[in-house]
Amino acid sequence: MRPMETRLARLARKGDQRAFAEIVELYKDKLFHLANRMMSNRQEAEDIVQETFLRVYKHLDRYDENQKFSTWIYRIATNLCIDRLRKRRPVYSLDAESSDHEGLDGYAMMPSDDRTPESELLLSETQRIIHETIETLPLKYRAVMALRYFQDMSLQEISEVLEMPVTTVKTRVHRGREFLRKKLEPKL
């Protein structure tokens, strides 16, 4: 049996707008949460969610039904986040490309200064600290950590979304975890 998303995608491919609206309803909050955590900016997160759905809509013909619809849509959204983050901090994007075997030190990113104040208000003091710490996560750990912790994906699912081996995902989760722990420990 085909999951619901695949059925909806088929209908949308034939031009059924209501089916597409259902896909939007199913994924918009999840994608917004992911993008908001990755970008630390509500407006950018909203743009990314919008852009993701636009791409999904335009490329429905390319959706390969052998993979899960969620894998495909998360891949589009994550790639859009990564692209934007790279453009935002070109100096650091070079570091993000470096090998997994290199140390963590020196790879931290500067927190962005364009956070919208209203998003801060919703968070407790502890959550604000975590939020800020996530912003300093190097890019290559950030996508993996966001999928792991904010979408509750298995390592296998993450490896499918990011199209990298599970072993790489595992290494990145471990390093990302250590990075956050070291940063958070003195603050909490």
Partner: protein, 203 residues
């Protein structure tokens, strides 16, 4: 157990990938090593805090905005998409289509001689007779309609003669097949073209 191994086990544990036997070993090490115990506690604390981060819902009007931003009509399934989905089929289909359309073009040309082939430099046309001269070699196929074909030389592919005649000299050499089609008689040919006409003109 060394502390380094214990740390690796901690991560595996948090991944949900640490087998029971190793879990016991880790537990034992933590009971003896305060440094590792503190580290493990800190890791679990971080873990819990991350998972407890509140989920902010997308702005209420986002669905509306998205639906409005979509192009007005999804472009109908394009030819290229179909080709991408049926790579094997499509090559055959395109070939068939090209073949059929060239035949139909010939049909529409009435009783005039028509000649198709990849290599027409090596043939000689005299009136309604097409000649492959002795010592010449034609690469690929030749399709002749409403005419005579005389082969004295070589043809590297198939010969198809529609509503005509073919004469092969003793010096002739045909690498492929020779096919003569009489449109008035050939039922298959009739079916094929009428099917194509229906497809193309909806009649």
């Amino acid at each position: 157990m060394k502390c380094g191994d214990a740390i690796a086990y901690m991560h595996e544990y948090l991944d949900g990938d640490l087998p029971l036997e190793q879990r016991r070993k880790l537990k034992h090490h933590l009971s003896e090593c305060p440094a590792c115990a503190a580290r493990f506690q800190s890791m679990q604390h971080t873990e819990a805090l991350l998972r407890a981060m509140p989920v902010e819902a997308a702005p209420a009007d986002l669905t509306h905005k998205i639906m409005k931003s979509l192009p007005r009509t999804r472009s109908p399934k394009s030819w290229t998409t179909w080709v991408r989905r049926h790579p094997g089929m499509s090559a055959a289909a395109i070939f068939l289509l090209i073949m059929l359309s060239s035949f139909v073009a010939m049909w529409n040309q009435g009783q005039q001689l028509s000649l198709k082939g990849d290599d027409l430099e090596h043939v000689v046309v005299k009136g309604r007779t097409v000649i492959v001269p002795e010592g010449e070699r034609v690469e690929g196929d030749l399709i002749i309609e409403n005419g005579e074909l005389q082969v004295l030389g070589e043809v590297d592919g198939n010969l198809t003669v529609i509503d005509g005649n073919v004469t092969l000299a003793s010096t002739a050499h045909i690498a492929g097949k020779v096919k003569e089609i009489d449109r008035a008689m050939d039922w298959a040919w009739y079916k094929l073209t009428s099917w194509f006409d229906t497809l193309a003109y909806g009649s």
